[in-house]
């Protein structure tokens, strides 16, 4: 999925976006990426996470101009759920 402004943004669409992007980066099926799985268990190293961050920033820029994930916040994100919650909070969506 590639988020665009025609797609209403909610927690579910953010989850789909995060899973799709991770699937592309890790060459896995989105179905293999559960919400509660940790990045470590997925085999996502620091470089893969930076790829994810840059992909999310690019995809979410249409919702919030200059959407940015702070590098300092990355340390606290250890799972798919963490990433989804972080983005949802940052964009203030339910």
């Amino acid at each position: 999925m590639s988020a665009d402004t025609a797609t209403p943004l909610n927690r579910e669409t953010i989850l789909v976006l995060v899973r799709d992007q991770l699937a592309e980066i890790l060459e896995k099926s989105p179905d293999d990426i559960a919400e509660d799985v940790s990045f470590e268990d997925l085999g996502a190293d620091s470089l893969a996470l930076i790829e994810l961050v840059e992909a999310l920033e690019e995809n979410l820029a249409s919702y919030e101009d200059g959407f940015h994930i702070d590098d300092e916040d990355l340390e606290g994100l250890t799972s798919v759920r963490d990433a989804v919650n972080y983005v949802a909070l940052k964009l203030q969506v339910a």
Binding site: E27, D45, S46, L47, I50, V53, D71
Partner: protein, 328 residues
């Protein structure tokens, strides 16, 4: 018209002086087109070469991934962007290896289907073309599927660049038998044996790094880097020990005068700078990673290798090798 090669003028232990000198030699002696990417105030004389100015430098000890995000106007990131934007045919850097890989990956992107890019390091192989050791340090932890892709990409590179038909691939282990090695090695052995599209020669051992009976040796990035550095250290020691022995007395010095004529060309072939650098395989562009201690000769050779990779159309051939529908 051939595009220029983007050279990170700020990367390396002897940058920018030796890097710029190497670029100038590549232009004068090899007829290559080179763009320097660097901070003008820190570069000194660009020796008449075109410069793409930037304001930041990624240091050797900067965190690779984070520095690419934080230092967006660094020479490394800008060099990768020149390739991405179609303004350069390739990038070359002797700087922070991890950051070079991160810059290339994040700016150029991965080839479709590639799980992780890998570093392939050519190792001189007396009597035959260089052997490619892959992964030489990009991925400390690997899956068997990753190692299979590394083997496929390196074999494609050897075929395209060294023009070796059906290059042989060895899997680094602690014994030739398929039962030897870690669970990762054993699983990779099974996958490579069953692949059918690769000339898999079975397991090889550390002593097969040089001279090597195969064209490619595949291993995980941790083991590959340890093996490579061990080899470099051992060769350095041997050079130094031979020099010491030759200087023992007048008789050995006289013998050295005779022998050096024959020994020096061998030593030159074994020096890292003769190889130009390691190759980042699996990204949407050409990236040559030079040794951190590169002198002007090493930089010139790295630029030559980058140019050859472009002429050999290596990226397109890698794309054809790794197809997304074949990913395990």
């Amino acid at each position: 018209m051939t595009l220029p090669i983007a050279l990170d003028a700020m990367g390396g232990d002897f940058a920018p002086g030796e890097v710029i000198a190497g670029a100038r030699r590549a232009v004068d002696e090899l007829g290559l087109s080179v763009i320097l990417v660097g901070v003008p105030d820190l570069m000194g004389d660009p020796l008449g070469l075109e410069v793409v100015a930037c304001t930041e430098v990624i240091a050797m000890d900067d965190d690779p991934a984070a520095s690419v995000r934080k230092k967006k106007d660094s020479s490394l990131v800008r060099a990768a962007e020149l390739v991405r934007d179609g303004r350069a045919s390739a990038m070359v850097s002797a700087g922070n290896t991890g950051a070079t890989m991160a810059s290339a990956l994040l700016r150029m992107g991965r080839l479709p289907g590639v799980i992780r890019p890998c570093i392939a390091t050519p190792i001189p192989n007396p009597g035959r073309t260089s052997m490619l050791l892959v992964d030489a340090g990009a991925n400390a932890e690997c899956s068997a599927e990753m190692l299979v892709q590394f083997a496929q990409m390196a074999a494609t590179m050897v075929e395209a660049h060294y023009h070796v038909a059906s290059p042989s691939v060895g899997l680094l282990s602690i014994g030739e038998e398929s039962s030897k090695g870690t669970p990762l090695v054993k699983e990779t052995h099974q996958l490579l044996s069953a692949l059918g599209t690769i000339n898999f020669a079975g397991n090889v051992e550390g002593r097969d790094l040089i001279p090597s009976p195969v064209d490619v040796i595949v291993t995980d990035g941790f083991t590959g880097n340890v093996a490579l550095k061990t080899l470099e250290g051992a060769l350095k020691y041997v050079f130094s020990a031979v020099l010491d022995a030759v200087g023992t007395n007048e008789a050995t010095k006289a013998a050295g005068e005779v022998l050096f004529e024959y020994l020096l060309p061998v030593a030159a072939k074994l020096r890292p700078e003769s190889q130009g650098g390691a190759l980042l395989l699996g990204v949407e562009g050409i990236c040559v990673i030079s040794h951190g201690s590169s002198n002007a000769t090493a930089i010139m050779n790295a630029l030559r290798v980058a140019d050859e990779m472009d002429r050999d159309d290596v990226v397109a051939k890698l794309k054809a090798t790794i197809r997304p529908d074949q990913v395990a």
